[in-house]
């Protein structure tokens, strides 16, 4: 068996759809299943614990290519997994009369924690080798256990709290800060804590949508400053937890760390391939050589993402206009 040899695959991607979901025998409202976002929100407010979600699936495969291709024993396999619980379960779909492949897979509550991933693998025997992956769904579906709105992209979470009396004990140590960024509190998503008692009135300004020009300027510049802090914190967290291969090659992390590194590395270490940049940043951080110099680039990359220059330019002009219009 030679797994590394190339072999023919289905050139087109296959489509996987979650047709409906039932939770402990009751249908999940359609508003919690988003086809465009390919995300299902399994949490139902007002309803307590549940044990089992059954996902009804439908897949469309390119019939002609399946029939004519150099493969046999084609299997259409739904794969449900979650990294943090080390769970992987599979179910075979069967070809229905209308030509689509249909089936169901069960998601057991006690085996999943936050976000399960559902993908489709088309498998067949190719050139005498059974079990070859010959096709897969383009983007996987996400099944969020703690969300009630189906949203694929999870933005940074913003939590307002009075740091002086916060239930999170560690926040009290920052009672004089306007905000702090926590990247390890929830491994799935970075959190910005806004202090409602740090700078009086700031949170109201940030939450406002209207107000005077000055208020808008304050809102814009503060928001991009918070964003800059968040980008810097996320970048540092992402590079400080790099896993390594046994020959020392750093591995691209999963979760939110992946897009953060992919977006920022080209600005932090310009002109390199992503894998080279990852190796270099890891060497730099672990050996310390050049790490201090890199901080400038990290700030630059974070500033770019948070549009600091753009927001400040707007702010300066607004202030200027206000001054000139004063009698």
């Amino acid at each position: 068996m030679r797994p590394f040899l190339s072999y023919p695959r289905i050139p087109d991607t296959v489509e996987l759809e979650i047709v409906s979901v039932s939770v402990d025998g009751r249908d999940l409202p359609y508003s919690q299943i988003s086809r465009t976002e390919k995300t299902v929100a399994l949490h139902q407010t007002g309803r307590g614990d549940w044990d089992l979600a059954t996902l009804h699936l439908k897949a469309v495969l390119p019939d002609q290519e399946i029939a004519d291709g150099p493969w046999s024993d084609v299997v259409c396999l739904a794969v449900l997994s979650e990294n943090s619980t080390n769970v992987r379960s599979t179910a075979r779909l069967a070809k229905g009369r209308d030509g689509t492949w249909q089936g169901k897979i069960e998601l057991v509550r006690g085996r999943h924690l936050r976000r399960a991933v559902l993908s489709l693998a088309v498998v067949g025997e190719v050139n005498g080798v059974p079990g070859r992956a010959i096709g897969k769904s383009e983007a996987p579906w996400y099944l969020d256990l703690k969300e009630s709105t189906p949203r694929r992209q999870r933005e940074i979470k913003i939590v307002e709290a009075d740091f002086r009396e916060a239930s999170e004990e560690w926040l009290r140590g920052f009672k004089d800060s306007a905000w702090v960024v926590a990247t390890v509190e929830d491994p799935e998503i970075p959190i910005v804590y806004l202090n409602t008692s740090g700078v009086e009135g700031l949170v109201e300004v940030l939450n406002g949508t209207s107000g005077s020009a000055a208020e808008k300027v304050l809102r814009d510049t503060t928001t991009s400053q918070i964003a800059q802090d968040a980008w810097i914190a996320m970048f540092h967290t992402a590079v400080s937890n790099l896993d390594q291969d046994d020959d020392g090659t750093p591995i691209m992390p999963t979760g939110w760390q992946e897009p953060v590194l992919k977006m920022m590395l080209p600005d932090v270490l310009p002109g390199r391939q992503l894998t080279d940049a990852l190796r270099e940043i890891n060497e730099c951080r672990t050996s310390g050589a050049g790490w201090a110099e890199l901080q400038t680039n990290i700030q630059f990359a974070a500033g770019k993402r948070s549009q600091i220059a753009k927001k400040l330019t707007g702010a300066v002009r607004t202030v200027d206009r206000e001054e000139r219009s004063e009698p």
């Binding site: 068996m1 797994p3 590394f4 072999y7 299997v75 396999l77 794969v79 997994s81 990294n83 943090s84 619980t85 080390n86 769970v87 992987r88 379960s89 599979t90 057991v108 509550r109 006690g110 085996r111 999943h112 924690l113 693998a121 498998v123 080798v129 059974p130 079990g131 070859r132 992956a133 999170e168 004990e169 560690w170 140590g173 926590a182 390890v184 509190e185 491994p187 896993d243 046994d246 020959d247």
Partner: protein, 297 residues
């Protein structure tokens, strides 16, 4: 273990956030000089569990103390003894075990002495932060619990033993996603067992090579189709968890029984073993130099 100071541990388990570990893990704790728990650390606990027998600290503490006694001077041997017993004592679902806060709580409040005893580096003199709060294959207690969870054969913990045969190869296997398919995990353990029985030299390098080769093969081959597993009976696990209310503490000299949630399909394992043996034979052997290990004796 006698040189380590005593730990004043709580009665019931709870959840401690990662940030609290970053903030409160001191050099004195990592070096095993002082296990005093500041009140700020106690206040940082997110939640203490309800007073159910399965969350009682006592039985875990007894196990850990026995391990430190039994394996004094040969600490790496403690893993294989402790893993199934910790798993059968801390009865929970995978969702519960995936919460890093539980493992943080154990390492920071229940048994920091064990973390230091087991993982203090011979050169550095301290136990690394990742042993207190870290990935499931590194954290001092999570690695034991998960190894038992991922390699047991239903209620039978025996396959967990060969998994621990080579300390410097366990991480390379445990962090592979492909072992979430139970027959793949079982087939790899069977090969590790053969290497151990035959006393093959540089076996851990062979195991690392095997992990790499099987992982690479898994990118084009779908093991779930080649070797279908039998379904897992989650209700049986829930029953096993419920039984902990009146189960006796785990035996020390024989293996406990795990949750009877379905054995791995033997035929599936039999299909994979010759495939993996072939991959191993073709895999390039890299003999690695020893680093400052914090997990050997």
């Amino acid at each position: 273990m006698s040189e380590l100071p005593a730990v004043d541990f709580p009665a019931v388990l709870g959840l401690l956030p990662d940030t609290a570990v970053t903030k409160h893990l001191s050099h004195a704790v990592q070096a095993g000089k002082d296990f005093f728990v500041p009140s700020a650390l106690r206040r940082a606990v997110d939640a203490e569990f309800e007073d159910q027998p399965r969350w009682h600290v006592g039985p875990v503490r007894v196990l850990v103390d026995e391990a430190m006694d039994r394996f004094e001077g040969r600490r790496s041997k403690a893993d294989v003894w402790l893993a199934p017993r910790l798993h059968a004592t801390l009865r929970m679902t995978r969702a519960e075990a995936a919460d890093s806060r539980l493992w943080n709580y154990l390492a920071m409040l229940v048994a920091p002495d064990y973390v230091v005893w087991r993982h203090r580096g011979s050169k550095s003199g301290i136990a690394k932060t990742s042993r207190f709060s870290g990935r499931h294959d590194l954290q001092a207690f999570a690695r034991l619990w998960w190894s038992a969870e991922l390699f047991r054969d239903g209620s039978d913990y025996r396959p967990v033993e060969p998994f621990w045969a080579y300390q410097d190869a366990v991480n390379s296997i445990m962090r592979l996603e492909i072992i979430d398919h139970r027959p793949t995990a079982a087939a790899m353990v069977r090969i590790v067992e053969r290497l151990a029985n035959e006393g093959v030299p540089n076996a851990s390098d062979h195991v690392n090579g095997l992990s790499k080769a099987v992982n690479a093969a898994g990118s084009t081959l779908v093991f779930d189709v080649i070797a279908p597993d039998s379904p897992v009976d989650h209700d049986a696990r829930l029953d096993w968890i419920a039984e902990s209310a009146h189960a006796a503490e785990v035996p020390w000299d024989r293996l406990p029984d795990g949750p009877d949630d379905g054995a791995v399909d033997k035929r599936a394992v039999d299909v994979l073993v010759p495939m993996f043996e072939k991959l191993l034979a073709e895999a390039p052997l890299r003999v690695r130099s020893k680093k400052d290990a914090d997990d050997d004796d």
